[in-house]
Amino acid sequence: MPNTAISVTDLSKKYDDRLAVSHINFEVPLGIVCGFVGPNGSGKTTTMRMLLGLITPTTGQGHILGEPIEHPEKYLSRVGAMIEGPAFYPALSGYENLMVLAKLGGFPIERVQQLLDKVGLGDRGKSKFKTYSLGMKQRLGIAAALLPEPKLLMLDEPTNGLDPEGIQEVRALLRDLANQGTTVFVSSHLLSELEIISDYIVMLRKGEIVFAGPIGELMAQQQPTIIAKSLNHSDLQKIVEIAEAAGHHAVIRNDSVHVLAEMDWAPVLNKAAFDAGITLAQLAPQLPNLEETFFEMTGDK
């Protein structure tokens, strides 16, 4: 029994002269929600396609549930996936579309209605796919991915087109699945979205891995920030000078000073500002979020 759901070594995909994915290495443990993040065009979908046997890697190796990706027939019966949005036959109903996949995979047909109910399409199953809204199509895609009762679920941007309520439902569904032992590997370019649900993060940028590991470990690597606002805008520069004099990097951003410092330095800053005749309107320690961390690590912003 393998202890990793996904294991990738030196995996690359080259299209003509362009490396879409460049020699990436990462592992995803079993039974967790793993966010696969990166901007559009960073190689997320290409990587997922390689892991599902849809495209052949140029170099490297990968294992899914302990089986090599050169033999997708050995693991795909235990994998559910929705890649690059939901793709179905427009003239068939949602129910019929799932029936096609249920027949193809040899899954019990009773699961079709159960899954339609689970994703909130129970009463629209008989409607043709072409009449579905984007959110409904997305839900049908998730239902299709759940057909095999997967040990590993790979979803590419599953919350695209969903309303806030739908997004929350998908989050809850993914968390439930992980609690029941399913490994969820979910990609998104919306980093804030994945920060909420992920235990583990694989960060990709321009086809290269920037970080792969537990999200807590990633955040722990980041320095906390103290955000200070003064009543007087002209005092911001003075606050920067106070911080830098104490050896902390500080910048003015959006009418406030961002100081890279531990939380316990906030009272020191408060006193120093008071002594300098500055009245602070706000002083808040803040841990960087995933988005800020990503940009900091990649140096994009």
């Binding site: 046997g53 849809l54 793709a87 029936m99 096609v100």
Partner: protein, 263 residues
């Protein structure tokens, strides 16, 4: 592979597709079979390309399937369109990735698709055969065609042989549709190319140089349905047509198995 066949049949039983295809098949079958009897004395002829089919020929044991055999080429073109559309749509809708995730054996997908569509084609051929023979039997007395030999053992043998020939021809046309669907990855492109070639280009080429009839793919496959044609033996049509289909199928299959699914 049985799972692939079951899944594909689920798509093929869609009412618009099923009744639309059967309707088209019945229309051509009724039209062509009726012409043979209603225009039996016409100076323009009552058969393909102005050919005359006499009462004596129609009164032979194989007379009941004359119309059915003549419609084989049209049934083939219908099958070609269905096979091409059903294959190429997987690319245009992006559903191929779903299929390959559920069944990673690419050859199993191809063979399963072929088997299910062949079953669909056989249903169409069977309905066309029944309708054509029924129309022939109804119109024969009015055209003064003797039907005494039609339902003898030789007559039934002719019905069986024609059914087999038409099936071979129609499925071969269908495979050509699948090949084009796999190569062009677009239903519109595949069907346009095939129909343009079979209905216009081949006929023009044969009109310019008659001997080309023995070598062009559409002519071979149509000749198989009729058990051979003038200046084109059944055996020759089967060999040359079979070669075209086999080479095309090998090329398309290799491409399908090796090509990345990136859409």
């Amino acid at each position: 592979m049985l799972n692939v066949v079951r899944a594909e049949l689920r798509k093929l039983r869609r009412p618009t597709l099923f009744f639309g295809t059967m309707g088209a098949a019945l229309f051509f079958t009724g039209l062509i079979t009726s012409f043979i009897y209603l225009m039996i004395d016409s100076p323009q002829g009552n058969g393909d390309r102005g050919r005359s089919i006499s009462r004596e020929v129609l009164a032979l044991a194989n007379g009941s399937v004359n119309g059915f055999a003549s419609v084989g080429g049209f049934l083939g073109i219908i099958a070609l369109c269905v096979f091409a559309a059903q294959t190429a749509q997987e690319y245009t809708y992006g559903t191929l990735r779903n299929l390959l995730i559920r069944q990673p054996g690419r050859m199993k997908i191809l063979v399963g698709k072929l088997v299910s569509m062949a079953l669909f084609a056989i249903a169409m051929i069977a309905i066309a055969a029944v309708v054509s023979i029924t129309i022939s039997y109804i119109l024969a007395p009015g055209a003064e065609v003797n039907t005494d030999l039609w339902f003898t053992s030789a007559g039934f043998e002719a019905i069986f042989t024609t059914f087999v020939n038409v099936t071979i021809s129609v499925v071969a046309f269908g495979i050509v549709g699948m090949i084009l669907g796999l190569l062009l990855r677009s239903p519109i492109s595949a069907i346009s190319f095939a129909v343009l070639w079979l209905l216009i280009v081949e006929n023009l080429l044969i009109a310019v140089k008659n001997s080309l009839q023995s070598w062009l793919p559409g002519a071979q496959l149509s000749a198989i349905a009729t058990g051979g044609a003038v200046d084109l033996t059944y055996k020759h049509a089967l060999t040359v047509g079979g070669l075209y289909v086999a080479v095309g199928a090998i090329v398309a299959s290799v491409l399908f198995v090796r090509r990345d699914v990136a859409n």
